[in-house]
């Protein structure tokens, strides 16, 4: 959260927390025990570091303190239950405890945690919540806020997922080679959901969404650093960066939504767009294309275009056509319709839009507003206003609603002008 009270120390413990937690989960085999232990260690750090100074290796400090907490908890449990499993764990924790905090060990710990949290045996929304919780250090309250779900509901979703991990024994390990393609896909879907929720999703208050977008970029870059040879991981990281780089253009000074054609491109972070494009170039050179690389290419083309009119629409149309083969969704088709309209005119765009299955998109405000814009360009003002009414009926939040209302009244006004 962009709470001014949260100091750099807290920021640091939060980000180190993911690495520390990953190690603790390996050691304890239990996400809840690990989380509690890391939480205690963070509280301890925030109490001591301002007084004693930040240790040379904050992650190692947090790991040691968290390990000791976990040991305490497990010793108590062992005395209480004499459970065979706990005794074995305790033994491992005391003897072979990971003094090994080398990069490769931490990397494997993070990968294991990522694959566990993103296991396809868990529902996608539970995977997203767990990943945000464990790898991004977001609180249940923060996650609930972003996804517009009451906090107890989100808490239940997370605890059910943890219970399933424990009870069904979803393993904490890096999948074997033959399992990897499926499992990487499941992880990519989770990180993509975080990235998307940060930027396009309707849900939640604005600064919470911006924070989520930052976490999305961080998570995508983490994934890429953990699996540098997977071009789709690099593609997703490039996509997250290129989309996030336009953050300051998306809203005007009053915090109102500004659409791509009207955005002030000097407010974009062009260094980040260039970095995303460079990352994507390296990924594409591996010749293993996929939907995230294609989406990143679209985002980079937009980011690199000097003006909206100068956008390479021909290439964007062909990229969306490719994307429809990789991931045929109505959202992709609507995006292709917009690009076709820019390249060949509104009538051609509308023809693409007419091929979209309306039942799948009738609750999606951007489908209706896109339709309204194209109808307006064709001079069908009455139909355009009707489409904007449909859009307003499913506007997901206040700023989108205000935007649609403004646009609708513009169109209605122009419609009354004599030709």
């Amino acid at each position: 959260m962009t709470d001014p009270l949260i100091g750099p120390l807290e920021q640091m413990t939060r980000h180190e927390g993911g690495r520390v937690l990953a190690t603790l989960v390996r050691l304890t085999g239990d996400i809840t025990i690990a989380e509690d232990a890391v939480q205690d260690a963070v509280v301890e750090a925030l109490r001591r570091w301002p007084r004693d100074g930040v240790p040379a290796n904050p992650a190692a400090w947090l790991t040691t303190v968290a390990r000791n907490r976990a040991l305490d908890v497990l010793r108590r449990e062992a005395r209480r239950t004499t459970k065979e499993g706990d005794a074995r764990l305790l033994d491992e924790l005391t003897t072979a405890f990971g003094e090994d905090t080398s990069d490769s060990m931490v990397r494997d710990d993070l990968l294991r945690l990522l694959f566990t949290c993103c296991h396809p045996a868990l529902a996608l929304d539970a995977r997203v919540a767990l990943a945000l919780r464990t790898l991004c250090g977001m609180s249940t309250a923060e996650i609930a806020l972003v996804f517009l779900v009451p906090e107890p509901t989100m808490g239940q979703r997370i605890s059910r997922a943890k219970k399933k991990i424990a009870t069904a024994r979803i393993p904490y390990r890096i999948p074997a080679d033959h399992e990897l393609p499926d499992r990487v896909t499941a992880v990519l879907a989770v990180v993509h959901a975080v990235v998307t929720a940060g930027h396009h999703s309707p849900a939640g208050p604005l600064d919470a969404r911006i924070d989520l977008a930052v976490e999305g970029v961080r998570l995508a870059l983490l994934l890429h650093s953990l699996m540098p040879d997977e071009p789709e991981c690099a593609g997703l990281a490039a996509l997250a960066m290129a989309v996030h780089a336009r953050r300051d253009g998306r809203l005007d000074a009053a915090g109102e939504v500004v659409l791509l054609p009207a955005q002030d491109r000097t407010r974009w972070h062009h260094d980040e767009i260039a970095a995303a494009a460079a990352l994507l170039d390296r990924a594409v050179a591996r010749h293993r294309p996929g939907q995230y690389q294609v989406q990143a290419a679209v985002a980079c083309l937009h980011g690199l275009a000097p003006t909206y009119a100068d956008t390479d629409w021909a290439q964007i149309v062909s990229l969306y056509a490719t994307l429809e083969r990789f991931a045929p969704t109505p959202v992709v088709s609507v995006n292709r319709a917009v690009a076709v309209a820019e390249l060949e005119g509104a009538a051609a765009g509308l023809a693409v839009l007419d091929t979209v299955d309306v039942a799948a998109v009738e609750r999606w405000h951007l489908f209706w507003s896109t339709r309204g814009e194209l109808l307006h360009r064709l001079g069908r003002s009455h139909d355009a206003v009707a489409a904007f009414d449909r859009a307003l009926g499913c506007a997901p939040n206040d700023s989108d609603r205000r935007f649609l209302l403004r646009r609708r009244s513009d169109l209605a006004g122009e419609g009354r002008q004599p030709a």
Partner: protein, 124 residues
Amino acid sequence: MPRYAALIYGPEETDENTPPEVWAAIMAEYTDFGATAGAAGVIAGGEALQDTKTATTVHVKGGAKGGEVITSDGPFAETKEVLGGFYLLDCADLDEALHWAAQIPGAWHGRVEVRPVIDFSQQQ
């Protein structure tokens, strides 16, 4: 070793409307699975069930022992895909259980639901 139940669901008509040679082929697939998984020491048990026309469901009314017993014809839930049989699999973790479940012929003729079995000896 954790134990999982692999519950095999499929379309009911398989039993009646299936030509004998197709039925024989399916049985051969199960024999295959039994041999492979059996040799790996994974199978702890399992049964094939008669079709749901032979099923009877009982319910004791009142939510407590001793209530009126309601006996009804048919399976618990009338669904297109019915429970046709199950295996008990001893596997180290869910990934291993899913690996074996995906080799049960019911996984391609229908679906296989994998559920951990409660181990009462580990409960306090």
